[in-house]
Amino acid sequence: MAERDILNFDVAIVGAGPAGLAAACRLGQLTRESGREMSICVLEKGAEVGAHSLSGALLDPVALTGLFPDWEKRDPPPMTPVTQEEVHFFANQSRRLKIPPWLVPRPLHNQGCYIISLGRLCQWLALQAESFGVEIFPGFAAAEVHYDAEGNVAGVITGDVGLDRDGNPKDNFQPGVLIEAKYTLFAEGCRGHLGKELVERFQLGWNNASNDESGDEARQQDRFQCDPPHYGLGFKELWRIDPAKFHPGKVLHTWGWPLDAHTEGGGFLYHWLDNLVSLGFVVGLGYENPYLNPYQEFQRWKTHPQIRGLLQGAERLGYGARALNKGGWQSIPKTVFPGGLLIGCEAGFLDNARLKGIHTAMQTGVLAAEAVAEAFAANGRNDEVTGFERRWRSSWVADALYRTRNFGPALNRWGAYVGGMYSWLEQNILAGKVPWTIHNKTPDHARLKPAAQFEPIEYSGADGKVSFDILSSVYLSNTNHREDQPCHLKLKDPAIPVEKCLPLYDEPAQRYCPANVYEIVQEPEGPRFQINFQNCVHCKACDIKDPFQNIIWTPPEGGDGPRYVNM
C-alpha cells in the first residue's frame, strides 16, 4: 500500500470559513510585518473555497475593517448596505403584525451592516490570504487529529481517497497526508467533528469545571457552569425576483407562524443585488415534537402572503442548509489546549441575539492568529496558547456575547412571546446589564419527547411555485458524493434506528435531515433504515439531534458535498 506523505507547516488551519481565513490573513500580515518566516496552510473539505459556505448573510463589518482597513479598495465581494429593515410577527398563515422599531430588541437592529454572500466573502478572503503566501487546499478534509507522543495536538491527517463502499482501496487509492504543525487552528464551523473530539478529549466544555483566567467574578462563575452547546438548523434559498419588487438593501425578519410558541425560530429575507433575494428560516434544534419537520416548516413559511407575494413569478436558484450555534456565552468551552485552538463557530462564537457569527468568527480568528504568532516568536510549539483565551475574553466579542447571553435561554425557557418580551426589556430598557444569567442545561437531543405524546403533523404538499418537494430542493444544492465510497454517516450501533428510535420517536431523522438522507423503508421482513449519503449537504443536524447520539457525521472523500453558488 502507498506510503503516507508528510508535510510540515508552522501553522495548520482546518476549515476555510471566515474564522479560518481571517486567521490565515492575520498570520500572513504578522509574518510580513515581523519578517520572520512562518509557513501556513488551510485545509477545506469543499471542492473550492465557498462551496460549503452557507449563511444569511448580514455582515457587521467591524472585524473586516479591523483586518483590512482598506477593504473597500481591494475589489471586495458584492455587498449591499442595509437601507431599510422591518421585523414582522406572523400571527397565522395570513395575518402579520409589523413591529414598530422601538419595540424591536436592540440587537436586532442592523444599521451599518451589509448584505453579502458568505461564499463570495470567503473566496475574497482566500485571495487575500494567498497574497501573503498562505497555502490553501480546497478538496481536502481533515479527517483525524494527529497527536504527538505526549498527547499534544501536532497537526491533522487528511482523509483517504479512492476507497470502495466496503472501505477497500481501489486502483486510484491515495492514503491521507499527515500535516504536521506546531500549532493547529480548528475552524470547522458549527459542530465540527474534530472539535467535538477535542472538547471531549481535553475536557474543554460542558460538564467540566475548566479554569478561567479572566478576573471577572460573574464571568468566572459562568465558566464553571459551561452549558451544553445549543443549535438551530438554518435553511436558505436564493431567488431571482421580479425587478419591480426588488429593493436593494431591504431586510426583513419574521417570527411566529408557522412555528408554535414553544418552538424557537424565524425567517429572514434580504434583498441582495441583481434582483437576487436571500431568504431562509431557522428552526431551533431543541424542539420537542419528533413529528416536526423543519424543512416543511420552512416551505410553509414561504406560503405566507407576504413572502408568496414577493416570490410570484420568481425563480429559485439555490437551496441549502447548515446548523448554527445558539448556545452563546454560556456554552463557549475553553478554547485552547496543547498544540491547538478552537476559533469561530467551532467554539460557538455566534451572537445568537443578532443571528450573527461571521464577524465574531473573523475576530476570534484574528485574535488567535495574534496569540499564535506571539507564541511562535517565543519559539513555542505544541503547547497551550493561553494568550488567545486572554485576548478574546477582553475583546468586544466577549462583551457582545455576554451582553446578550440571556436571549437564547429566555426564548428557550419561556417561549417566543414571554421570552421575546423579556429580551426586549433586558436589551432596550436595561441595556443588557442584568446581574443574572439564565441557563439551559439540557442538550438539544435530550429535549425530544416520545412520539406517543404527539399527533403526527400533516404538511400540505408542495405547490411547485413557492414550496417544493425535498428532492428538487436538494438538486439545487449541487451536492454529490462519489457513490462507491464508504458511507460517511456512521452508526455507533446499527440496530438502534429501527429497534429503538423508530418505536419511541418515529425516527425523527426522516424529518430533520434537510436532504432526505435518512429513510425508513418498509420491506417484507420489516422496516429498514436507509442512508442516502450522496444527498448529504453537511449541515450536521443528524449529529446534533439524534436522540440516541448514535449517528456520527464524518467527512466523506475531500471535495464531495454541496457546491453552493452565492450562498
Partner: protein, 249 residues
C-alpha cells in the same frame, strides 16, 4: 515521444447551470470551475503512457484567460510536465481553437495529441476533428481503450453497433471517451509543487492567429421544466393510462 493535451476550463459537472436573466449566456460568478472531465481523462491517459515509459514529456495547453491557470496547475499537479496558456478573453469557438492548436503543434512538434471528445459546456465535439483536418493527421475519436506500439496507436472506439477497433499511425489525434480511464486523485505535495512551476503564456499575435468569430450566440434558454410525475396504484392502471395516451394499443 511528446504528448500534447488540450484542456478547457468549464463549469464543474456537479453544478446546475444557471442562465443569465437576459438570455445572453450562462452565469459564471462564484461558480466552481474545473477541467472539462473528458480532457481530464485524456490527460490521465497521457500520464499513464508516460508512467509506462512510452512517452517522455506531456505539455498541457489551454486557450483562455488568466483564470484558467487554476486548471493548468491542476493538470501540472496530476502529472503534466509543462503548461502553456494562449491568452484570450474571446468566445471559444471550435474552428478558432483548432487554428490556435495547429499553431501550437507547429511550435511544440508533439507526436500524439490527446483531447476530450467534447467539452461539457457547449457539447460541440468538433475541435479534435477540425484540428485533424487542419494538420491532415489521422484521428480516432471517442476512444475507450488505447495501446501504443511501433509508431501506431491501436484504439477501441465506442460506436452504435458496439466496439470498433482501429489502428492509426503517429502522429495522430485521439479524443477520449468516458470509459478510457478513471482519473487519479491529485496529491497534496504535488499541488504545492505545481503552484511553483512556471506557466508559459503566449498571445495570439505570437502565434499569428486571428480568432475571427464564425458563430454568434443568439439566445441561451433553460430547458422547459419537467412535468411532475404521478404515482399509479397498479399495473392495470398503468396500462389503461398508456392506452389513453396512445402509447399502447
Amino acid at each position: 515521444m511528446k504528448i500534447l493535451v488540450a484542456i478547457k476550463r468549464v463549469v464543474d459537472y456537479n453544478v446546475r447551470i444557471q442562465i443569465k436573466p437576459d438570455g445572453s449566456g450562462v452565469m459564471l460568478e462564484g461558480v466552481k470551475m474545473s477541467i472539462n472531465p473528458f480532457d481530464e481523462i485524456a490527460l490521465e491517459e497521457a500520464i499513464r503512457l508516460k508512467e509506462k515509459g512510452l512517452a517522455e514529456s506531456i505539455t498541457v495547453v489551454t486557450v483562455a484567460g488568466k483564470q484558467a491557470e487554476e486548471q493548468l496547475r491542476q493538470a501540472l499537479a496530476m502529472g503534466a510536465d509543462h503548461a502553456l496558456r494562449v491568452d484570450t478573453d474571446q468566445d471559444l469557438q471550435p474552428i478558432n481553437i483548432a487554428r490556435v492548436l495547429e499553431a501550437i503543434v507547429k511550435r511544440e512538434a508533439p507526436d500524439l495529441i490527446l483531447m476530450g471528445k467534447q467539452a461539457i459546456d457547449d457539447d460541440c465535439s468538433q475541435t479534435p476533428q477540425m484540428l485533424a483536418g487542419l494538420l491532415d493527421w489521422p484521428q480516432a475519436t471517442f476512444v475507450s481503450k488505447l495501446e501504443l506500439a511501433d509508431g501506431w496507436v491501436r484504439v477501441s472506439r465506442e460506436v452504435d453497433a458496439g466496439l470498433e477497433e482501429l489502428s492509426v499511425r503517429l502522429p495522430a489525434i485521439i479524443s477520449a471517451d468516458l470509459r478510457l480511464n478513471e482519473p487519479r486523485y491529485v496529491k497534496l505535495p504535488d499541488i504545492m509543487k505545481a503552484r511553483r512551476k512556471p506557466i508559459d503564456i503566449l498571445t495570439l499575435d505570437d502565434l499569428s492567429v486571428a480568432m475571427a468569430p464564425q458563430l454568434e450566440i443568439v439566445k441561451t434558454e433553460p430547458p422547459p421544466p419537467r412535468k411532475p410525475g404521478r404515482k399509479l396504484a397498479s399495473i392495470e392502471e398503468l396500462i389503461t393510462e398508456l392506452k389513453q395516451m396512445g402509447v399502447l394499443s
